[in-house]
Symmetry: D3
Amino acid sequence: MPYVNVKVTRNGVTREIKQKIIADITDSLVKHLDKKPEHIHIVIDEIDEDNWGFAGELTTDYRKRT
Amino acid sequence: MPYVNVKVTRNGVTREIKQKIIADITDSLVKHLDKKPEHIHIVIDEIDEDNWGFAGELTTDYRKRT
Amino acid sequence: MPYVNVKVTRNGVTREIKQKIIADITDSLVKHLDKKPEHIHIVIDEIDEDNWGFAGELTTDYRKRT
Amino acid sequence: MPYVNVKVTRNGVTREIKQKIIADITDSLVKHLDKKPEHIHIVIDEIDEDNWGFAGELTTDYRKRT
Amino acid sequence: MPYVNVKVTRNGVTREIKQKIIADITDSLVKHLDKKPEHIHIVIDEIDEDNWGFAGELTTDYRKRT
Amino acid sequence: MPYVNVKVTRNGVTREIKQKIIADITDSLVKHLDKKPEHIHIVIDEIDEDNWGFAGELTTDYRKRT
C-alpha cells in the first residue's frame, strides 16, 4: 500500500509530465513490489522557487548566480 | 505531542468541514493517547486533482472514466 | 482520496489504540467528506522522544523538567 | 530539485528492490523534468503493517480478512 | 544528505525571512553534522490559517478568541 | 505555529547534536517569525543509508564509489 510524495519546483510541470511521472512511479512499484495499482497514491507538490532552499540560499538566488 | 497531516483532494472542503475534521482527530488523540489539546497540531493540505495520482493516472482522468 | 500521517511520541501506543485512532479518523473523513474507506490510507509514525523537539529542547529533557 | 518520499509496508523490500525503485524514479524525473540526478533525493520509509491503516483498519487485520 | 520541511502559517513570511531561516538551518546542519551545503534541501510550506488546526480548532478561530 | 521535519542519514547523530539542531532551528523561527517556542515542534527522522537514494543510487553505494 504505497504512498508517494513528489516535491518539485514549480516551473514547466505540465499535466502531461505529471501523467508520465505518475505512470512511471506506479509501474515501478507494481513491477518491483507486486503492488496493486489501486493501492498506490502519489501526490505531487509544486513548490515556488522562493520556498525551496538549496545550498543555503533560495533557489531563485541560486539560479541567478549559476 | 502529536502532529497530523491530512491530504485530501481540493473539492468541497469547506471551513465547517475542516473544523469538524480537526475536532474529531483532536478528540480521538486526547481520548486514546491522553494528549493535551494544545500539543496537537493538524495541517490540512488540499491537493489539486491534477496533482493526485491514483491507480497510475491523474485523479481527474480517473474520475472521467469512472 | 485522503492520506493521513499521524506522528506521535513512542510511548504506550498499543495495537488497540492504533485500531481506534485509525477507525476514528477514517469515520471522520467518510462522514464529513463522503470518502470511500478503501481510498483512505493512514500512516502512524512513532517517534522516539529523543527525536522530538518541543519548545527548543528534546521531549525527554522537557519531561524531566516539568 | 526534486525530493521524493516513498512509504511502503515493510515486507520483502530488499536492497535490490530499493536500488531499482530509486533508479526508476530518478530516471523518470531526469527524463520528464530535465533534472540533474545529483539534485534528486529519495527517501524510502518502510512502515510496519500495524502502523498502516487502510479502509478503517490496520493492514494486518485487513490482510487476515481478505 | 539532509532534507528539511518547515511548515508555518502564511502571514508575514517575506522573502528576506525565508532567506534567513534557510541560511540558519543550513548553517546548523553543516556545523553539527558536517554536511555539505549542496546536499541540503529545505522546503518551506506556508499554510493558510484555516488549514492549521491547533488545540482542536482552526488557528483563525483560536486567534479570534485569544 | 511551526512544525519542522528534519530527515538525515543515520550515522553519528548523537543526542547532543539533536539538542543543538533543535535549539538552532527553534531560535531561528522565534527570532525571524516571532513564534512562541512552545508552539514549535521539530521531528528528526534518522534514515538508514540503504533507504536514502541520491543521484539514482543508494547512499551506501554512492559512498563506496566516492
